[in-house]
């Protein structure tokens, strides 16, 4: 057999039906192994099932939890917002009616779906994973073909266990060399998006490979794949290696006994074969990546901490220049301003991008022995799951954050999109470890700057963006 890319292997393995000929009016039908469901994009899908008197084909493949709408403060009183409460209660009812496993509020396993899937071992190599959320690409870190879908497709997957999907092209992003100390997967993916743009990956499944990717932990790989969608790609992938297998062993949903060894044997084949061809290849030098900070209202509007906000007024691309001007006006910034001089009002450490234990460890290592700047009105740490929170507390990370002046919260999506009460007020400026700096994303009129956990922690301490690598230079010398 001719050499195959990882994507091609996963695609072929899941084809239930393949169209004949390019002019065929039939789509490729892909089988779905794992479906993650949450409160926002599912109620209309369940309603559709009821309306058509259908049932989920394999309810045991679905795992549900509430994450987008949940309060991150005291939960003993339930959810105060009537709309949020109704949506979460509806999820509970739907899961009960259709026999779906749900981790409810109060269950230590509750958390952001893209954190709990891998944490539970419910995301496995070689699976197809879907969810009604664009950041489903996160799970590609485990060599799972994982992508976000809309609500109609949520219903389609529940009813048929399949999805009609146009085949993606393949893009290899090879990252050579190694990332410097305190430069993380978040900086790398922001750097990549800055290079290829927010539509650079549209139509592609991206595979991340190369020495820098091999060196990343599973958490780092999840951060990387999580933001493939911010480069336009529905799918991000990393090949299976020993780290993948070690991460999964013993997790509740991971295979056991003889199934485990058979699974590991299969998983070890989930990499791109030597000589396989990609539609496009991009080379990135990891050594050139610095801590990154976004300055605009699109993730591609990003520069390194030691740079200035660029001037695009002379750009040949008038659409880009206009977009930059609009973004700067919204952000209250000017081209030529040094990134390190931008002062912040709030800090958010959390989200499906950066709320895993490693993220919290890194941020805590920066924060330790420091205080949050007087300038900063609020600094939040929102763990990605109840289990991440518990682990962090065992390690004493919560105490480090609290002592420094951070608030230590309950798990959920929180200020990444501000569906609960954790929001920016108009014109408030936030150093955020989340994934989108769109207008109003974290609250109407709010100004978001995307950064890594270490950079968010450094900004919290200094009250403005600060090169975290400089905080540790003395120790390194």
């Amino acid at each position: 057999m001719s050499p195959q890319t990882l994507f091609e292997k996963l695609w072929q393995r899941h084809l239930v039906h393949e169209p004949r000929g390019v002019e065929s009016t039939e789509p490729s039908l892909l089988y779905v192994d794992r479906h993650l469901v949450y409160e926002v994009t599912s109620p209309q899908a369940f309603e559709g099932l009821r309306h058509q008197q259908r049932k989920p084909r394999r309810p045991e493949t679905i795992i549900a939890t509430a994450d987008h709408n949940v309060p991150t403060t005291d939960r003993t009183q339930g959810i105060a917002d009537p709309f949020s409460r109704a949506q979460v209660e509806q999820l509970n009812k739907n899961c009960e009616q259709f026999g779906i496993r749900e981790f409810r509020l109060g269950d230590v396993r509750q958390g952001i779906i893209h954190v709990i899937g891998p944490e539970q071992g419910a995301t496995l190599p070689g699976m197809t994973v879907v969810a009604g959320d664009s950041h489903t690409c996160t799970h590609g870190a485990f060599a799972a073909l994982a992508f976000g879908v809309g609500t109609s497709e949520v219903e389609h997957v529940m009813a048929t266990q399949c999805l009609a999907v146009p085949k993606m092209k393949t893009l290899l992003i090879r990252v050579r060399g190694q990332l410097s100390a305190w430069v993380s997967a978040k900086d790398l993916i922001l750097h990549i998006i800055g290079q290829i743009g927010t539509a650079g990956g549209t139509g592609y499944a991206i595979e991340f490979a190369g020495s820098a990717i091999e060196s990343l932990s599973m958490e780092g790989r999840m951060t990387l794949c999580n933001m493939a969608i911010e480069a336009g790609a529905r799918v991000g992938l990393v090949a299976v290696d020993q780290k993948t297998i070690d991460y999964l062993e013993g997790r509740p949903f991971a295979p056991k006994g003889e199934h485990w060894s058979a699974a590991v044997d299969y998983w070890r084949t989930l990499h791109t074969d030597a000589g396989a061809e990609f539609d496009q290849i991009i080379e990135i030098d990891a050594c050139a990546v610095k801590p990154m900070v976004s300055w605009g209202t699109s993730p591609e509007m990003v520069v390194a901490i030691d740079e200035m906000i660029p001037s695009l007024s002379g750009s040949v691309d008038s659409v880009k220049a206009e977009a930059a001007a609009t973004a700067l006006e919204y952000m209250g910034l000017k081209s030529g301003q040094a990134i390190s001089e931008i002062e912040i009002d709030k800090v958010f450490i959390g989200s499906c991008t950066n709320a895993r234990i490693e993220d919290l460890r890194t941020a805590a290592a920066v924060v330790k022995g420091h205080k949050v700047s007087q300038r900063v009105k609020q600094a939040l740490v929102v763990p990605g799951s109840g289990l991440v929170k518990a682990q962090a507390e065992v390690e004493g990370l919560d105490a480090i954050f609290r002592d420094a002046g951070f608030e230590w919260r309950e798990p959920g999506c929180s200020m990444c999109l501000g569906m609960n009460d954790d929001r920016l007020q108009p014109q408030e400026r936030c150093a955020s470890t989340s994934n989108r700096n769109f207008e109003g994303r974290q609250g109407a009129g709010g100004r978001s700057h995307l950064v890594s956990p270490a950079m968010a922690a450094a900004a919290a301490i200094h009250g403005h963006f600060f090169d975290v690598t400089k905080m540790f230079e003395v120790c390194d010398a």
């Binding site: 239930v16 039906h17 065929s24 009016t25 039939e26 039908l29 089988y31 926002v40 994009t41 109620p43 209309q44 309603e47 058509q52 259908r54 045991e60 709309f83 949020s84 949506q87 496995l124 070689g126 699976m127 009604g132 959320d133 664009s134 976000g148 879908v149 809309g150 609500t151 109609s152 497709e153 219903e155 389609h156 009813a159 399949c162 009609a164 146009p166 927010t198 539509a199 549209t202 139509g203 336009g232 529905r234 295979p255 199934h259 058979a262 699974a263 299969y266 209202t297 880009k320 206009e322 977009a323 609009t326 501000g418 569906m419 989108r436 769109f438 207008e439 109003g440 994303r441 109407a444």
Partner: protein, 213 residues
């Protein structure tokens, strides 16, 4: 789903790139468990000067007179033209529900985000990708010519202009078939139940750990 054959309408321009689904329908409105009623919140933060919350009546809101969708000359437009990477960001189908409920049946842009693009076809909305220069011309016309209209014909895959000129567009044949006939794709997939069962049997042998519950 409502079948789509042809739409003739004036054209409303939103001359921006990277229009994300948060902009199309802000977070506070996607707490609804219904599938309808999102049109009044379309482009909420750009269309209105006050801060919107679910349940607010349109009459209470302060429209932004500078936003094209609020301008008299674009009222009733069923065709929207915008710049590249339209519909990026969140997968929320509420963005398409809002467009459709508002009355938009066609979106023309140089490029679309994939999830948004797929969502359109589930809801009787036709996204058309055209070369950037052609989109630029359409935006220019929509901004400068009062009452600028187009006739979008799906069967012939043509956009006809009043001066007799036309632009052709491409579309996946399966997507076209579904949209033209308003087919429910769950129904289509359910015709392949035998094939799905055979596939499951094969996978059960290959990867039994996926079938142990």
């Amino acid at each position: 789903m409502r079948p789509f054959k042809q739409v003739e309408s004036r054209v409303v321009p939103v001359d921006r790139s990277n229009i994300d689904t948060d902009a199309l329908i802000p977070k506070q409105y996607i707490k609804s468990i219904e599938r309808t009623g999102f049109g009044k919140y379309l482009f909420d933060e750009w269309r209105f000067l006050d801060k919107g919350e679910p349940g607010m009546l349109l009459e209470q809101r302060i429209p932004n007179p500078e936003f094209t969708l609020n301008m008299e000359r674009y009222q009733g437009a069923e065709i929207l033209v915008a710049q590249d990477n339209f519909g990026c960001g969140s997968s929320r189908e509420h963005a398409v529900w809002a467009l459709e409920d508002f009355g938009i049946r066609v979106v023309i842009a140089p490029s679309f985000a994939e999830i948004f693009y797929a969502n359109c076809f589930k809801n009787g909305v036709l996204p058309i990708a055209l070369e950037p220069e052609k989109v630029e011309t359409l935006i220019h016309s929509a901004l400068s010519v009062d009452g600028f209209s187009l006739l979008v014909d799906l069967p012939s895959q043509l956009i006809n202009m009043s001066d007799g000129e036309s632009l052709s567009f491409s579309i996946d044949p399966y997507y076209k078939l579904r949209l033209e006939n308003g087919y429910d794709d769950i129904d289509i997939t359910l015709t392949k139940l035998d094939q799905i069962a055979r596939y499951e049997q094969k996978r059960r042998e290959q990867e039994p750990w996926l079938f142990t519950v």
